[in-house]
């Protein structure tokens, strides 16, 4: 009996990795959304309760984590628009790879100024 080839694994290129990243960022953002609706709901408890909990968002460590959250949101948004173009634009499937490069470029172009601005707010610059 012939042996099955060992160690084969499907390694797609831009298509697969954009799908993996879209899934991971999507699940992460969704779990944050639950927490975010709950913390915002504290405005119905009292101004003190809301201000106390929102204070954790201003903590330097959490402030740096917010850069990661925004990075996930911006990637998911841009790659989502790419998915829409692949599905609905007749040239979409042909250009899905250059569009993924465009997503990464636009993502970096938005994230660099955002990171500078946000860390200035967090660290009081």
């Amino acid at each position: 009996m012939p042996n099955a080839p060992a160690g084969t694994i499907y390694r797609g290129r831009e298509g697969m990795w954009s799908w993996v990243a879209h899934r991971i960022t999507g699940v992460g953002i969704f779990f944050f959304l639950f927490a975010h609706v709950l913390d915002t709901a504290l405005v119905r408890v009292s101004p003190e309760a809301y201000n106390a909990v929102i204070g954790t968002y201003k903590n330097p460590i959490v402030g740096v984590m917010e850069v990661g959250l925004v990075a996930a949101v911006v990637f998911h948004a841009l790659n989502g628009l790419r998915v829409v173009l692949v599905d609905f634009w007749f040239q979409g499937p042909r250009y899905h790879r250059p569009m993924f490069v465009g997503v990464l470029g636009l993502w970096a172009a938005l994230m660099v100024p955002f990171t500078v601005r946000h860390l200035m707010h967090v660290f009081g610059g």
Binding site: N51, K58, A77, F88
Partner: protein
């Protein structure tokens, strides 16, 4: 030539509602709206003005005193929660192999989602920007007028 065996999944009944098609379409339509709603939310709350350091009760009250931001946040809440719920439903369907596991994970998801949507909606509609008996320095400035 041997004929190709018919697919195992039964064909859709004629006239039956194609739920998966509408779910697929919803992800794309809501996604485009969410790009505008969420990036606008991040721009106004984190980038403009003092960003995160300015967010407190008075900031939220100042926004929700206006129907514009109430509608914005309500749309964002509903679309993001349904978009995320359908996304996680797909993830559960992909990775939970046992029927029982898949069923209960999805039930947990739906209960958590409906609860969160209702809670968020209730908060937006029942919110009072100037609650009585609260320290004035924590409230938006327009509460002191009149």
């Amino acid at each position: 030539m041997t004929p190709i065996a018919p697919p195992r999944s039964p064909r859709r009944q004629h006239g039956a509602l194609n739920t998966e098609l509408y779910a697929w379409l919803f992800m794309r339509v809501s996604g485009v709206f969410l790009v505008l709603l969420v990036l606008g939310h991040l721009l106004v709350n984190l980038v403009l003005g003092e960003g995160i350091s300015a967010i407190d009760f008075a900031f939220v009250a100042g926004k929700w005193a206006s129907p514009f931001w109430q509608v914005w946040d309500l749309l964002m809440l509903w679309l993001a929660m349904i978009h995320g719920t359908n996304g996680l439903r797909t993830v559960i369907n992909d990775y939970a192999e046992r029927d029982q596991t898949r069923f209960w994970l999805k039930m947990l998801l739906y209960v958590a989602s409906v609860t969160t949507i209702l809670l968020g909606t209730l908060v937006i509609f029942s919110f009072d920007p100037c609650p009585a008996g609260q320290p004035a320095d924590l409230l938006p400035s327009f509460c002191r007028a009149s």
